[in-house]
């Protein structure tokens, strides 16, 4: 089969339309008003990705008494001293500007206090009530407003365009463009650009239970690795303790039941309907995400499970009426799945939520490959080993905007587009069309297999044996995938082909996660090694750096640079209280 891509040119190309992608488009257009800006995205503009799914809210140090320093310290301590401090600092500092931009220029509604000021609440792991929000649907508000702004501007839209390969210039010195599949027609399209932002949003969807949207399959990270870029912190997969468990046959399984349920006093109970959290931690149900996730996992491993193999969350003791009022959206969502959250028991399970790891970037979102910029969940560094609730969307909007500014400026300095390396182009097309040469097979079953492997061997709790076994099984799945085909008779909007491609990226990135997890022989934040439960000395903190492609992955360690504050020190004054949570109430 012979494929040749349609060719298309632009100045600034943005992959993804989450918080990072949309912000980048707006900023790029402002920074370079005459440049052509193009957004290419796997779904519809603003309607895919995870930013839309943000519930809790947006961390920003705004209120009197709070400070960028305090936000920064929470971020660094929450990340167990692994964050890149310059990135974390810029995140906390710029979030203040960004929230004003969201409110004043983009038109977002954020909830107010009776006196008219912004209402902020506390997410776990914070020392201040810092999370701005719009009810418990903050992401819908942020993305809908950004989407309107983008749609009303002359930004070129390539919707349902899946990026499949980054194509370097002929001399290899820079990025020339990106190869896409126009999903609606099934044809290839090569888009050349002076600058490209990758904002495809990571997303650990290779776990049996996961929260991110169905369009996310770590394509971006897989593409970046194939161009030789290093990924850091890839072992750091955050699990949310309470994903809905509604059985294997429904896509609703894995979706988040919000943190606030536990915060409000919800009980977790095992299959015997006994509370168990206090057996693990003095904080009980209110302990941090990682601790609760591990406790639930342990109960499950001991076989004390609910019918679908998880545990229960129970809210009824708080008064069904009150629960129905306070958590209206969650109650309705559970009801749609046949559960009564207000008065009954709902089955839950830890669910893979966020990938802290990602491409190594500088604080201007530049990467080692000139012309390629990375922002949002695709970029590693800002969160270290653990992301605080509320720092995810702050990160994607802050750095998306930064990327737009920087790309706009850089693009003004560049004269011509690069000619693509046709060999790489052909390779990438061959890679994407590989399944057409094989006999059609059951991609879904194979995907389920990978999801089980990752959950069992590279999941909430890890050890060397399990990780080795996991790697071995991943290789098997890899081989099986290579011999599993997709019928090529009708490629227009062919989801089965895209399922195959999704699984390709997920297999590649699963290996990187497992290898990185094997390499880190201590336990920090989201990464827990049963054979190395200690955290290691903070001042000797290192992060993992994975490079290579396909089956040849190597993981190195690099020391964390404490550029702003060293372990044991703080930016807060000696007279400042350790925590001010709830002080305002």
């Amino acid at each position: 089969m012979q494929f040749s891509p349609e060719r298309h040119d632009t100045d600034i190309l943005i992959l993804g339309s989450g918080g990072a992608g949309l912000f980048a488009a707006l900023h790029a257009q402002k920074a370079a008003p005459h440049a052509k800006v193009t957004i290419a995205v796997k779904g519809l503009i603003g309607k895919c990705g995870c930013t839309r799914m943000v519930q809790g809210g947006y961390n920003v140090a705004l209120a009197p008494g709070d400070s960028v320093e305090r936000h920064f310290m929470d971020t660094v301590i929450g990340g167990k001293w692994l964050p890149d401090q310059d990135m974390a600092w810029k995140l906390c500092k710029t979030a203040v500007t960004r929230i004003h931009e969201l409110e004043n220029e983009i038109g977002c509604f954020f909830d107010r206090n009776p006196d008219g000021t912004l209402h902020q609440k506390a997410f776990a792991g914070q020392t201040f009530d810092r999370t701005a929000h719009k009810g418990d649907l903050t992401g819908i508000e942020i993305i809908s407003r950004l989407m309107e702004q983008v749609l009303s501007r002359p930004v070129e839209r390539l919707q349902e365009h899946r990026a499949v390969g980054l194509i370097p210039s002929r001399d290899g010195s820079a990025l020339a463009g990106v190869l896409f599949i126009d999903m609606r027609s099934g044809k290839f399209r090569l888009v050349r650009a002076k600058t490209v932002l990758m904002a495809t949003g990571g997303g650990p969807t290779m776990y049996k239970y996961h929260t991110p949207s169905g369009d996310k399959s770590m394509d971006g990270l897989a593409m970046a690795m194939r161009r030789g870029l290093a990924l850091r912190d890839m072992e750091m997969v955050q699990f949310h303790p309470t994903g809905l468990l509604a059985g294997a046959g429904t896509k609703m399984t894995g979706t988040v039941l919000e943190e606030g349920l536990r915060g409000a006093g919800g009980h977790l109970m095992n299959g015997d309907q006994q509370r168990f959290m206090f057996d693990y931690d003095a904080g009980g149900e209110r302990a941090t995400r990682d601790i609760v996730s591990r406790a639930i996992y342990e109960e499950m491993r001991q076989g004390r499970t609910s019918p679908h193999g998880g545990v229960y969350i129970s809210m009824a003791h708080l008064g069904p009426q009150l629960v129905a009022e306070k958590f209206k959206g969650m109650v309705k969502r559970c009801a749609d799945s046949g559960f009564d959250l207000a008065a009954g028991l709902v089955e839950v399970v830890p669910t893979a939520h966020y990938l802290m790891g990602g491409v190594v970037v500088d604080t201007d979102t530049r990467t080692a490959l000139p012309g390629l910029y990375v922002a949002g969940e695709d970029a590693g560094g800002a969160h270290g080993s653990n992301r605080l609730g509320g720092n995810g969307v702050a990160n994607s909007t802050v750095y998306g905007g930064v990327a737009g500014d920087v790309m706009g400026q850089d693009c003004l300095k560049m004269q011509a587009l690069h000619d693509p390396d046709e060999t790489v182009l052909d390779e990438e097309m061959a890679r994407a069309t590989a399944p057409f040469a094989q006999k059609p097979g059951d991609v879904t079953a194979l995907r389920d297999k990978l999801l089980d492997v990752m959950w069992e061997d590279v999941g909430v709790m890890r050890d060397a044996d399990g990780l080795q076994r996991g790697l071995h099984r991943i290789d098997e799945i890899d081989d099986e995938l290579s011999s599993t085909g997709v019928a090529a008779d009708n490629l227009a909007f062919n989801l089965s082909w895209h399922d195959w491609l999704n699984l390709r990226s997920l297999v590649d990135m699963s290996r990187v996660i497992a290898q990185s997890a094997l390499s880190r022989e201590n336990s920090r934040g989201a990464h827990f090694r049963e054979d190395h439960p200690d955290t290691g000395a903070m001042q000797d903190s290192y992060f993992t750096l994975a490079t290579g492609s396909d089956k040849n992955i190597s993981v190195a360690r690099a020391p964390v640079q404490f550029t702003i504050v060293k372990p044991g020190e703080t930016l807060l004054g000696a007279d400042e209280a350790e925590t001010l949570v709830g002080a305002a109430e």
């Binding site: 309607k47 409110e103 609703m252």
Partner: protein, 242 residues
């Protein structure tokens, strides 16, 4: 799994390049099964070429709406149990939008109208200004808030017969958003907005059929919003002369 060999009798609209027909499938019935799960099962187990769209799978992105037994629904949050009639399901692409293939429609017209209704915030301040203090109980804020939680799923757009009959009609969702903005004290573009919703396809074409409100999965009421626009524009008739 309830029952051993229980099957749903599902007919799914297949369309490519303008040719369309319904195709029958027997889909095993499961507990906690949504319409989206049924569609995905068919694509994964029976016909790999079946096209449809979803993203969030929890009612937040508004990508997955389809006509289910003749009514528009968000399929990821619609339980089979709730809508199946005698074990039968008829699943078709969302009404009033052009079909790309099978169950996937082109949503561009819907969003073009969103912009045409001037349903886009027009800032009066910049990021360097302080945030406006806003009383959450202020009647305007309350009105704006009541209309705001729209996921642009186009369910209302599919439910409305005026949209079907009048290609210019901006539709319930866009007008609903315009109304929300009209109550946004921070917005600087109200005069243009009133003009935008008063043209050939404007709010005055709504006959209060209220199918929009009936089917909106988020329990929004575009009829109320559109009535608000009608009032506001009618009022402006008496003040435009000034």
């Amino acid at each position: 799994m309830s029952g051993s060999e229980q099957f749903l009798d599902v007919s799914i609209w297949r369309e490519q390049d303008g040719d369309g027909h319904f195709q029958q499938f027997a889909v095993p019935r499961r507990d906690n099964q949504t319409i989206l799960d049924v569609v995905a099962w068919v694509q994964q187990q029976r016909d790999p070429t079946l096209s449809y769209r979803f993203a969030c799978r929890v009612g937040m992105c508004g990508s997955c709406a389809m006509m289910v037994n003749g009514a528009p629904r968000w399929t990821c949050r619609t339980h089979v149990q709730k809508v199946a009639e005698d074990n039968h399901l008829q699943i078709a692409p969302l009404r009033n939008l052009p079909v790309i293939k099978d169950l996937a429609v082109d949503m561009d017209p819907f969003f073009d109208k969103w912009v045409a209704a001037d349903a886009v915030f027009e800032p009066s301040q910049t990021r360097h200004d302080p945030m406006a203090p806003i009383d959450p109980q202020d009647p305007m804020r309350v009105a704006a808030s009541e209309a705001i939680e729209c996921i642009n799923c186009a369910v209302c757009y599919a439910a409305c017969d005026v949209v079907a009959a009048n290609p210019d009609y901006l539709g319930p969702a866009a007008l609903n958003r315009s109304w929300s903005l009209l109550n946004d004290s921070r917005d600087a573009g109200q005069a243009e907005r009133l003009k935008a919703v008063s043209g050939e396809g404007g709010c005055h074409n709504c006959h209060a059929q209220q199918s929009c409100a009936r089917y909106c999965p988020n329990e929004l009421n575009p009829t109320v919003s559109i009535s608000g626009l009608k009032r506001a524009t009618a009022k402006s008739v008496f003040s435009w002369g000034k």
